[in-house]
């Protein structure tokens, strides 16, 4: 396979430009270009399926080579990036139609492709400069995508870009520190430097790089940008952000934990708890806290996309938790969950986007009863939530199960408990989502709602199928993951197409049995059900209300504050808000800065001249008296 990586990287960028130019010709030229180029990228990417390793030098900068490389792990992430991008673009064609300013739309598609390209660049990067460069490009291009979403999205985007920049600069410091030691930023060289440097240095590097990835992966306490950004972004962009973009953080963590810092190194330079190096253990705890707290927050949301955004924080917590276990099973679970989360979270965001497209609101308590009007979207959403809640036989279950088993093997029971709790909490918020949108009473203003156009349905179909397939045949993904992990020095894990055989300390899993037995018992139960007299369909207003007659004017629906009583239980936790703490410090810094700036730049000439006098005096005095300037 002689596909060049540069071409793969360049395709979306070139495609983006051509799409923009195409938009000047006609909007359909633009749409077709956008779809075609993302399809092309996906096609090019798929050619690397069997490539175990390939590296290209594509330039050099400041004496460090710039490298593009691919291996099965990068292939996995490439799969996430390219496929979700393609689906998002297809979905956008109809969803973004309402935007009248065609320039905005042209640049929207261009930025979509640019973000895709940047993420491909991140994944393909074989050295830290390339990585960092595309990381930054991804940050600002995705920023422009977020702010497409209207007035509120501007604040969200602003918060996002500022936090991204902070995170990126933390990485920047680390990269520069590595560069000063190695004068080369190619991954193997970096790994060498880290293994030869003092532990303090290495730990600092890991922490600084980690901060950058934590911001992007939205691990608590650096998550505050995510709920706003993901919920305020346009509907097709949210899946890209939640499904794919935060995975880049996970990918970065994988690279530093296992690419740059070999397993032995971590163990050598720091003490271990539960046979996990202490730094990774802290990461695990942060991830576990993300899982639990974000779950709690998601339960309390009233806004569909915000709910999903918090859920993303929680789910990325699983990914990071799995990645940080350090065992084959855990890391494989984390990687697999990254893929699965990309699939089902994109599906959920698209489904919610479809609802927003038709109803124009994402406020959960304004919706309800749409199952009769948008049956397909309902199915998509239900499949998504079942996967998200980690219920067999869909894909979210398998990866979560792997993470649980890995934690149990390591006896990290407290983390395991938190992971379980987050998963059960997921039942609450996913049910809230499906109930408030599709079940319950159909509001009168949504009487004429139809299901979404076919172009918006196709991406959801694809994702539904993917959810089922990866759920029942986890071996398909494990092929890639295990092959890739072998390159990073992990012991292979036993698996087969349908699941996992029983190991010495781990239980067995065969999803196809679960699925088929469920299917059979479902059919049996259904046939049994059909034996009895037929049901008569009644309207939603023919409903038990203790004899009261339900009329369309009467809102006979329970939706607002769905878990209010649960909210009372967890209220004490939310007295502390991380965001409020940040805001407090930012405000304090602003007031401080403003105050002192006004004192320095007074606008008064005498003051200014006195500065000159002071400087000269000090300099002269230093020279004359000290004989030394410092």
């Amino acid at each position: 396979m002689n596909m060049s990586l540069e071409l793969l990287l360049a395709t979306p960028f070139i495609g983006g430009l051509l799409t923009y130019i195409g938009g000047k010709v006609h909007r359909w030229v633009r749409n077709i270009f956008a779809v075609l180029f993302s399809l092309l990228t996906l096609g090019e990417m798929s050619l690397f399926y069997n490539t175990t390793f390939k590296g290209d030098v594509w330039g050099s900068l400041f004496g460090s080579k710039l490298i593009l490389q691919t291996n099965p792990i990068t292939w996995l992430f490439l799969l996430i990036v390219t496929s979700i991008s393609l689906l998002v673009i297809v979905f956008s064609v109809d969803d973004m139609k309402h935007e009248e300013d065609h320039i905005v739309l042209d640049s929207y598609y261009m930025q979509l492709l640019f973000v895709e390209g940047a993420m491909i660049g991140i994944v393909l990067a074989g050295d830290l400069i390339t990585f960092f460069m595309f990381w930054e490009i991804m940050s600002w291009t995705s920023y422009f995508l977020i702010v497409h979403g209207g007035k509120k999205s501007m604040d969200a985007g602003y918060k996002y870009i500022i936090m991204s920049i902070i995170g990126a600069y933390a990485m920047f410091v680390a990269i520069a520190m590595i560069y000063s030691k190695a004068h080369s930023l190619v991954y193997p060289d970096v790994a060498l430097v880290l293994s030869q440097s003092s532990p303090t240095f290495t730990i600092w590097i890991i922490i600084l790089l980690g901060v950058g990835f934590f911001v992007k992966a939205a691990v608590m306490p650096l998550h505050t940008w995510l709920p706003d950004a993901h919920s305020e972004a346009p509907s097709p962009v949210s899946p890209l952000l939640s499904g794919v973009l935060i995975k880049m953080g996970a990918y970065g963590l994988f690279i530093i934990f296992y690419g740059l810092m070999s397993a032995n190194l971590a163990k050598n330079i720091m003490p271990s708890i539960f046979s996990t190096p202490v730094l990774l253990y802290i990461v695990q705890w942060l991830a576990a806290l993300s899982i639990v707290l974000a779950t709690f927050l998601a339960i309390m949301q009233e806004d569909a996309k915000r709910l999903l955004a918090y859920s993303s924080i929680s789910q990325i917590g699983y990914v990071v938790l799995g990645l940080a276990t350090g065992t084959s099973l855990g890391v494989a679970g984390g990687l697999f969950h990254a893929l699965n989360h990309a699939i089902f979270k994109s599906l959920l965001f698209l489904a919610v986007g479809a609802v927003i497209y038709r109803t124009g609101t994402r406020n959960l308590s304004d919706l309800g009863g749409l199952v009769k009007k948008m049956p397909f979207t309902f199915v998509a959403l239900v499949v998504g939530i079942i996967a998200l809640a980690g219920v067999p036989p869909l894909n979210g279950f398998v990866s979560k199960w792997m993470i649980y088993e890995a934690l149990l093997q390591k006896k990290e029971v407290f983390l395991l408990i938190m992971a379980f709790v987050g998963s059960t909490g997921a039942f609450l918020y996913v049910y809230r989502l499906v109930h408030s949108i599709f079940l319950g009473q159909l509001s009168q203003k949504h009487e004429n709602v139809k299901d979404v156009p076919i172009l918006m349905q196709i991406p959801m179909w694809v994702l539904v199928i993917a959810t089922v397939i990866y759920g029942i045949f986890p071996g398909l993904a494990m092929d890639v993951i295990v092959k890739g992990m072998k390159m990073f020095g992990f012991a292979p894990i036993a698996y087969n197409l349908y699941g996992f055989p029983q190991g010495s300390t781990m239980g067995a899993l065969k999803v196809i049995n679960i699925a088929s037995v469920l299917m059979i018992s479902f059919v049996v139960a259904w046939i049994f059900f059909l034996l009895f007299s037929k049901s008569r369909k009644v309207s939603q207003y023919d409903n038990y209300a203790a004899g009261q007659v339900v009329t369309p004017e009467l809102k006979y629906n329970y939706s607002f504050g769905f878990y209010m009583s649960f909210g009372r239980v967890i209220k004490p936790i939310f007295k502390i808000s991380i965001e409020r703490i940040y805001n407090y410090w930012v405000d304090a810094a602003k007031i401080f800065g403003d105050y002192y700036m006004r004192r320095v730049y007074t606008g008064n000439l005498e003051t200014y001249n006195s500065y000159i006098v002071i400087v000269v005096t000090i300099a002269a005095a230093a020279v004359l008296l000290g004989g030394k300037i410092w």
Partner: protein
């Protein structure tokens, strides 16, 4: 297994129905006061498979315990129509029978079966638990013999009932 005739099925069904009667009671009047002793340990109507249930969908018997007025009739009709066939109505106490002490009130419905078909009335102001249980036993017999067909009558004479309801409710 040989095919059972429809008649046999009906017989078995009626046998099951009479052994498991779930009631929803519509209580405004004082008549409901005698229900608790009927349910609790003194008389224990669960012996006969009778149990109070909450919603109209689950119940088989609509127990109208007390006077009905124009305002509450609408609710009673709604509840009755929401119940699933087969369903039975028992007028409980003299208020349901003929208005009772409120016989001359402008707002009280004097004759229940002009609006919904009652299968059975229990006389008395208010009926004793023994009378209640006796009534249920009687209803069971009616069910067994297929004579408790109020719901069929309602369907058959829907126009009649609707007309009467409309007159009162407007």
């Amino acid at each position: 297994m040989e095919r059972m005739t429809e008649e046999q099925v009906k017989t078995i069904a009626n046998m099951l129905r009479k052994r498991s009667l779930w009631m929803i009671h519509y209580c405004t009047g004082c008549g409901a006061m005698e229900l608790p002793p009927t349910m609790t340990s003194r008389y224990d109507m669960e012996r006969f498979g009778l149990a109070p249930y909450v919603t109209s969908r689950q119940a088989d018997i609509l127990l109208i315990t007390g006077y009905l007025n124009v305002k509450t009739l609408r609710r009673v009709i709604t509840v009755y129509e929401q119940m699933l066939d087969p369903k039975y109505v028992i007028g409980f106490g003299s208020c349901a029978l003929n208005g009772g002490v409120y016989w001359d009130s402008y707002a009280v419905i004097k004759q229940l079966d002009r609006y919904i078909p009652a299968d059975l009335y229990i006389a008395g102001c208010m009926p004793r638990p023994e009378a209640i249980i006796s009534a249920f036993r009687h209803l069971m017999e009616l069910i067994d013999s297929g004579k408790a067909d109020g719901y069929k009558r309602y369907k058959r004479n829907l126009a009649y009932y609707k007309e009467n309801q409309r007159k009162v409710l407007g």
